[in-house]
Amino acid sequence: MGLDQSLIGRSYPPSAVYEVSRAKIVEFADALGDVSPLSRDPEAAREAGYPDVIAPPTFLTIVNLGAIDALAADPELGLDYSRMVHGDQSFTHRRPVHAGDRLRVTTHVDDISSRAGNDFLTLRAEIHAEGGELVCTGTAQLVIRGEA
């Protein structure tokens, strides 16, 4: 019990590349009932000024989940995955994600605190395209519930 607050500021090396495909964008849109042609029709996306079909606003949860997994795999942090719940989530986009993007995520531990027997960890996922361009910053609060 009690995450080590000295691990605030820890970061992890960039992930492997996640390549965004048209098929995955359509799958994700389907799962949300989102029928926008900008996520399905490359011609419509190009007419709107995008290089290819664009992803719905929360699509990068896929990459963000990889960041959470990176934390969960750190033995020094010792997260108990079975007691972990998602407290909040934010995405700040520099530009829309489009099919063909090759993304890497770098994960940072921005904060650790403890309150009422629960631990709270704030994770920042910096998502970059090849060449280093920042595409999106994801911020998640993970809550590790104390054992009753």
Binding site: L32, G33, S36, A48, Y50, L65, V85, F91, P96
Partner: protein, 148 residues
């Protein structure tokens, strides 16, 4: 699923967006099948989203929807209103109450509404509410949207 759009005129001129504008509401029905589909699309295979046995073992009343599914539907309310997901600059939400999804044909119904709370320098801030059985399931859900 998700077929209960009840009102609205997406595709209006974005230059007319003003504080106090209401977004077209969304009534989304989420069944176990939808959770399976979202799990595959998002790669979030946490068993609390498909196994009653594991969900109850960790203290939940039963299988619950992915918080990110609810947030993704909230994002859809915003992107359908503005007509272009690429205009959504940021989105944020707290996950305040789990959406329990029973193993039947009816699932759970989540009702979304949204209001423009500010327009500043070509960027609108939208506040979103999401309710299941009359109770809020997202907290402080907001998005910023480019409207210039």
């Amino acid at each position: 699923m998700y077929r209960y759009r009840t009102a609205g005129d997406p595709g209006g001129s974005v230059s007319e967006v003003a504080t106090g504008d209401e977004l077209p509401p969304l009534r989304a029905r989420v069944t176990r099948a939808d959770l399976v589909r979202y799990a595959g699309a998002s790669l979030d295979f946490n068993p609390i989203h498909y196994s009653d046995r594991i969900a109850t073992e960790v203290g939940l009343p039963g299988v619950i929807a992915h918080g990110m599914l609810t947030m993704g539907l909230a994002g859809r309310v915003v992107s359908e209103w503005i007509g272009d997901a690429g205009r959504v600059l940021s989105c944020t939400s707290r996950f305040t109450r789990p959406v329990v999804v029973p193993d039947d044909d009816h699932g759970a119904v989540i009702e979304f509404s949204g209001t423009v709370t500010a327009v500043d320098d070509g960027v609108a801030t939208v506040s979103i509410t999401a309710k299941c059985e009359g109770k809020p399931v997202l907290g402080k859900a907001r998005a910023t949207v480019r409207v210039d």
